[in-house]
Structures are given as structure tokens and as C-alpha cells.
């Protein structure tokens, strides 16, 4: 019996994986072939999705992007034994896309059956938790601190310090909360982990719970990711059935369980205090800090709030040691970063690399330039609150501090490529509009500033008093940057100011041309 893999990743499904799967099953039945189908996650070569993989004695051979209409010809070409076909990409693990990657967080994603506990364990799963149990909570936190891991949600706060702060708080009730409210455009790494290797998140949360003394974990997942919810729930059930969650985790005596909670379409709930409010059943309004969530978090109890990627990296750090992870990277950005390359790009995908890659290498060498074939105009790095970086800054290395130096941020590692047809004054306007739509309303700079920002950019685009209005817009951005309570209002000026600075010509078009749009 041949084992073949057809992804259940949302991007693969959006490109027809369900019809493809049905066609394969029908064709196999019609031809009397017995096959075993595994629904894996994505390997990250998203331009090849849906990517079918066939297990052969020589390794897994890939065919993609495959449509239902390709299935008959795939069978004709004996793809079940790795036969030649125009869609064949050869042995998947030897694909050039992986050559410069260092897969740590995503080492299993796409390779295994995401809802099989046995698969996870067979691929090195639970080595990290076993080691944590062996060395104890304090040494576990030290490994995380030694790894140099910083919060992958965007803020880049050292994870080890966060865990230690919660561990040092008095019990008995503490929580582990995972932020899976991945709302940034151009990012999908959290989704891919939850769809492709959910056990790494479950194990990471369990390690954290053991280290800080928590007995309950919540994953707050955005409602736009229904397939991730389905797969993660199945993985939770499998973990409970295997004794990896519950009253006595893997026979250690640790009591810990996880509950999946679904958000309700509010971008601001990706901000940690707003997320906690939402989990408590309130409006997702940002809390003033202090108190930090580590001291008074969910229901007022000490709470670790980490991004999916930070948490899913903990198992490897514990299994291989903090030093092994810290060996990758540059400066104070240690380890690897799963880059998500998207937008107008030829080879969109998820590529996990050590920190330090130059933006130009990412966009041109890995991404292959624009999909439209036109010149790149700008790359928005770090989601809707990230700056538009022009080609002149393409030698900026991917590193928290290097991006801060050029008035930008790396956020959650998403990059959206735009070609030269893009009107940057429109993108700036959209940035402000998005902030106005999603503002929680608690602080004035964000609530009112974003609406005034839209109006002011509209005036500029209409050619009204352009110089005075640009000065006003810059001033407004400064107020929002320094006066807002959280990153939504505080960082919304980044796309606007970067567009203004790097593409001033787009704000000074003749009034007539702007009016015609």
C-alpha cells in the first residue's frame, strides 16, 4: 500500500485540495489501487499548493500545484511509485527552497500527520517535555532564557524573563495563554503550526505550565481560521487520549489541560491585554500597564501570554538545549525566524531562517521578485502596523534592532511585496482607515487620530493645501505614536510615515489625477 500526503492546510484547501483529494480517492478506487492518505500540513512552498507527496523507498516525491483534473494523468504517469510528470518537483526534502533554511519551529510541519500523537512522538516530540521534567522548573526557565528566544508575536520581549516573572509569583492559580489571533496581513505562520504541527504548541504550553506552575492553558484563535480550529481540537483530543494532557501528564503528576477559544473578528484582540479581556468575556479593550499580565493577567491571576511560534519553539529548545538555539542569529536576535513571504511575489511561502538575512535576498532570491513581473516598489514588513520599506533599504538585515534603526519593525515576520503600480498615498490612507475600524476606542490618539488621519490623507490626495496637511499628518502621527495606549495606535503611524518619507511623489500628484481615481 502506498502512502500519499494531501495537505489539509487552509491555503491548500483554498487552492482546491478537497476536490483533489476526492479525485484521487475515486481514481484509486477505479483503478483498484490501495492507498493510504495522510492529511499533512504545508511544507511552506505555498506556490506549489496543493502539493501531493508520495512515499517511495527513495524518499517523498512531490507533485504540485495539483488540480483534480491532473489526477488521471498522475496515475497514468505512475506517480504512486514516483514516476515522471510535468508537476513532479522531485524529492521534497531536497528541494532548493529548503537549502538555506534552518527548520526549528517548523521542523515537523508538513512532514507528519498533525493529529497523530504517535507521529509526533516518532519525530522527536515530547523529548523537550521529558527533559524539562528531568531538570525541573528553574532549569527549564534557564534554558529558555539562555536560548535568547524573544516573543515572536512582534514585541520581541525575552520569553525567559516573562516565564520567570510568572514563576516567581505566588500561586496557586496561574494561566498559560497563547495568542493565536494572527491578524497581521502577510502572516500565516501561527495558522500553519496549528494546522501542520499542533502538538508542538501543546508540548510547548505544557513545558511552560510546568515551568511556571500553571494548571490551565487557553489558546485564543481568530475566527478567520476555522480549519486551524478543527485540527487543533482534534490534536487536543488525541493528546488527552494519550495522557499528554489531563490530571497526570505523561505520568509525571503534572495536571494541565488546554482549552481552545475562538475570537470574534476584532484585530485589537491580538494585543495581549485586550485578548485577556476578551477571554474573560468582556469587550476587547486594552488595559493600561502596569500591572503586567505576568503579575495580574487572566482573571487577575499571574499569566504567561506568548505567541504561537514562541511557545511552539520551546520543545526544541528544551530537547537540544538553549545554546543550540542561540547559536543561530545575529546580535540580540537569536535563533530562527519563520519568514512569511506574501503579496505580489512569485514564490510565496514560509521560510524559516536564522536572523540576519538581507531584505533583498528574501524578496528576490527566495521570493523570486514580483508575481506581476514588474519592479518591486515597496515591501511592508511586520503587518499592517509595519513600515513600507523601499528598495533602497534592501540591504537591511532581518533583525529586531536593525529594523528599529530604519524606523521599522519586524513584527511577526510577515513581508508583503508591492509592485510599482501601487499608490502609496492610498496604502497610507488604508493604514489609517484600518486603525479607525479596529481601534478599541479606549485612548483618544488612536480612536480620534486614526479618523482624522484618514480625512487628512484624503485632503492631501485631493490636492488641498498639500504642504500644510502633510505637516499636520506628520504631527498627528507623532501624537499617535507617543500618546496611544497600545501598539495599534502607536504603530499605525509607521506605514503612513514610511510611505510619506520614501514615496513623497505619491502624495503630490496633480489634483486632477487624484480626483479621477
Amino acid at each position: 500500500m502506498t502512502r500519499i500526503f494531501v495537505p489539509r492546510d487552509m491555503a491548500a484547501i483554498a487552492m482546491g485540495a478537497k476536490k483533489l483529494l476526492a479525485a484521487i480517492e475515486n481514481e484509486a478506487a477505479a483503478r483498484g489501487e490501495t492507498i493510504e492518505i495522510v492529511r499533512n500540513g504545508s511544507r511552506g512552498m505555498l506556490w506549489l499548493e496543493p502539493l501531493i507527496e508520495v512515499e517511495t523507498p527513495a524518499g517523498r516525491v512531490g507533485y504540485g500545484p495539483a488540480k483534480a483534473s491532473d489526477v488521471a494523468s498522475l496515475f497514468d504517469a505512475c506517480f504512486l511509485s514516483g514516476g515522471a510528470h510535468p508537476l513532479c518537483v522531485g524529492k521534497v526534502e531536497e528541494h532548493p527552497f529548503f537549502a538555506r533554511q534552518r527548520r526549528v519551529t517548523f521542523q515537523r510541519c508538513g512532514a507528519i500527520d498533525p493529529v497523530s500523537y504517535e507521529h509526533y512522538v516518532a519525530h522527536g516530540g515530547y523529548k523537550g517535555l521529558d527533559r524539562a521534567f528531568a531538570i525541573g522548573p528553574a532549569a527549564t526557565i534557564k534554558e529558555i532564557a539562555d536560548s535568547g528566544l524573544r516573543g515572536r508575536g512582534g514585541a520581541g520581549f525575552p520569553t525567559g524573563i516573562k516565564w520567570k516573572t510568572v514563576a516567581d509569583c505566588a500561586g496557586p492559580k496561574k494561566y498559560v495563554v497563547v495568542n493565536a489571533d494572527e491578524g497581521d496581513s502577510g502572516t500565516f505562520a501561527d495558522r500553519m503550526i496549528m494546522e501542520g504541527d499542533p502538538f508542538s504548541l501543546i508540548e510547548g504550553m505544557t513545558i511552560c505550565a510546568f515551568a511556571v506552575g500553571a494548571d490551565k492553558g487557553y489558546v485564543y484563535l481568530r475566527s478567520e481560521y476555522p480549519i486551524a480550529a478543527e485540527i487543533f481540537d482534534e490534536a487536543l483530543a488525541a493528546a488527552r487520549a494519550a495522557g499528554a494532557l489531563g490530571k497526570n501528564v505523561r505520568g509525571s503528576g503534572l495536571a494541565f489541560d488546554i482549552e481552545l477559544r475562538i475570537g470574534a473578528g476584532a484585530y485589537v484582540c491580538g494585543e495581549e491585554t485586550s485578548l485577556l479581556e476578551s477571554l474573560e468575556g468582556k469587550r476587547g479593550i486594552v488595559r493600561a500597564k502596569p500591572p503586567l499580565p505576568a503579575h495580574e493577567g487572566l482573571f487577575g491571576k499571574p499569566t504567561v501570554v506568548n505567541n504561537v511560534l514562541s511557545m511552539a519553539t520551546a520543545p526544541m529548545i528544551l530537547a537540544d538545549g538553549g545554546a543550540a538555539y542561540a547559536a543561530y542569529g545575529m546580535g540580540r536576535s537569536r535563533g530562527t525566524i519563520p519568514l512569511q513571504i506574501a503579496g505580489n511575489v512569485k514564490y510565496p511561502g514560509l521560510c524559516e531562517v536564522p536572523f540576519g538575512l538581507k531584505l533583498g535576498e528574501i524578496v528576490n532570491d527566495i521570493g523570486g521578485g514580483t508575481r506581476s513581473g514588474r519592479p518591486v516598489k515597496a515591501v511592508q514588513v511586520g503587518g499592517p502596523l509595519g513600515a513600507y520599506v523601499p528598495v533602497s533599504l534592501f540591504d537591511t538585515p532581518f533583525d529586531y534592532e536593525a529594523y528599529t534603526k530604519v524606523d521599522s519593525l519586524i513584527g511577526h515576520g510577515g513581508l508583503v511585496v508591492f509592485d510599482d503600480t501601487t499608490d502609496m498615498s492610498w496604502m497610507a490612507r488604508f493604514g489609517m482607515e484600518f486603525c479607525a475600524i479596529e481601534s478599541c476606542g479606549k485612548c483618544t490618539p488612536c480612536r480620534i487620530g486614526s479618523t482624522r488621519g484618514v480625512e487628512t490623507i484624503d485632503k492631501i490626495r485631493r490636492g488641498e493645501n498639500v504642504d500644510a496637511n502633510i505637516a499636520l499628518l506628520e504631527d498627528l502621527c507623532e501624537t499617535m505614536k507617543f500618546g496611544s495606549l497600545c501598539a495599534l495606535g502607536g504603530f499605525a503611524p509607521y506605514p503612513v510615515l514610511s510611505a510619506l518619507r520614501h514615496f513623497p511623489e505619491d502624495f503630490r500628484k496633480p489634483a486632477l489625477e487624484a480626483a479621477a481615481e
Binding site: A14, F188, S223, P226, G281, F299, Q340, I341, A342
Partner: protein, 158 residues
């Protein structure tokens, strides 16, 4: 959307009661009510407020804070079109604007025959296959004007 049943207070109370043992049960309850009735109507507010021991004003505040909870039933089908930056880089804004103009709708509105509601969404995490959309919960990548028109036609007939 199409599976929603008309508002029924007794059923609503059952749904609420089934979730009350959770910590912070408001969002799970609101999702469950929304799944059942296709919306969280005004009539639900006092019942929820009572069950969760908060004021009606607070409950109203929670329900209306979140984009996902409609106060009235929407069309039989829902099409969410992504407006976020990645999809805009592939022309989603013009595509969506033209589509809405052909249907004579604005964002969030429903066709007069009640077949289709068109909503904006800010990222579906399908940025590798922009522009993207979601039709009755099914994700669709590399959407173009022809796909949107086909979906509008499908909604009308189904």
C-alpha cells in the same frame, strides 16, 4: 448561514446553560447562539445579561464590540472578501469595489433577494494566494472577478 433557525428563547436558554460552567463563557455562548440563529438578536441581550450577571448595557457593549456578531440575520450566503494589504497588492481593492458596484451593494449589505451578504475581512491568512475570499466558511485563493460573479450567481440559485 443557511442552516440558521428562527429565534427561540427556550433554545437560547438551553445553549446559554450548556456553557455556564466555563470560565469567562460570554464569547463561547455568543458563538453558539450565532451558529444556531445566524445572529445574536436584541431579544438575547437581557437573557444573556441575566445569565452572566452583568447589566444589559454591558452585555450590549460586548455583543456590539465584535465584528462577527450580527444583530439581524444576514443573507442566505455570506461572501467575505479580504481587503488587507497583501490582497491589495494583488488588486483586491479595485476587484472588490467593481464587484460591489455590479451588485449595487456597499460592504456589509445583502442583495435585495436575501441571497448574499458581502462583507470585508481583514486577512484570512491566505496571503500566499492573494486575493482571497471565504464563501460560507470555505476558503478560496487567487480570486478574480469571474470567480466572484460565479459565487454571486451560485448564491442566487441555492
Amino acid at each position: 448561514m443557511s442552516g440558521a433557525v428562527p429565534w427561540n428563547e427556550a433554545r437560547a436558554r438551553e445553549i446559554i446553560d450548556a456553557h455556564l460552567s466555563l470560565e469567562g463563557p460570554a464569547l463561547p455562548i455568543l458563538h453558539a447562539l450565532h451558529d444556531e440563529f445566524g445572529c445574536v438578536p436584541e431579544a438575547a441581550t437581557p437573557i444573556l445579561a441575566d445569565a452572566l450577571n452583568v447589566s444589559r448595557a454591558e452585555m450590549h457593549g460586548v455583543i456590539t464590540f465584535y465584528h462577527d456578531f450580527n444583530r439581524e440575520p444576514h443573507g442566505r450566503h455570506t461572501l467575505k472578501i479580504c481587503r488587507a494589504e497583501s490582497c491589495q497588492s494583488m488588486g483586491a481593492e479595485t476587484m472588490a469595489r467593481d464587484f460591489l458596484a455590479r451588485l449595487k451593494l456597499d460592504w456589509g449589505q445583502t442583495t435585495p433577494d436575501g441571497a448574499l451578504t458581502v462583507e470585508p475581512v481583514y486577512c484570512l491568512g491566505l496571503c500566499s494566494h492573494s486575493p482571497s475570499a471565504m464563501y460560507d466558511g470555505e476558503p478560496i485563493g487567487r480570486v478574480d472577478s469571474a470567480t466572484l460573479d460565479e459565487l454571486a450567481q451560485e448564491a442566487k440559485c441555492a
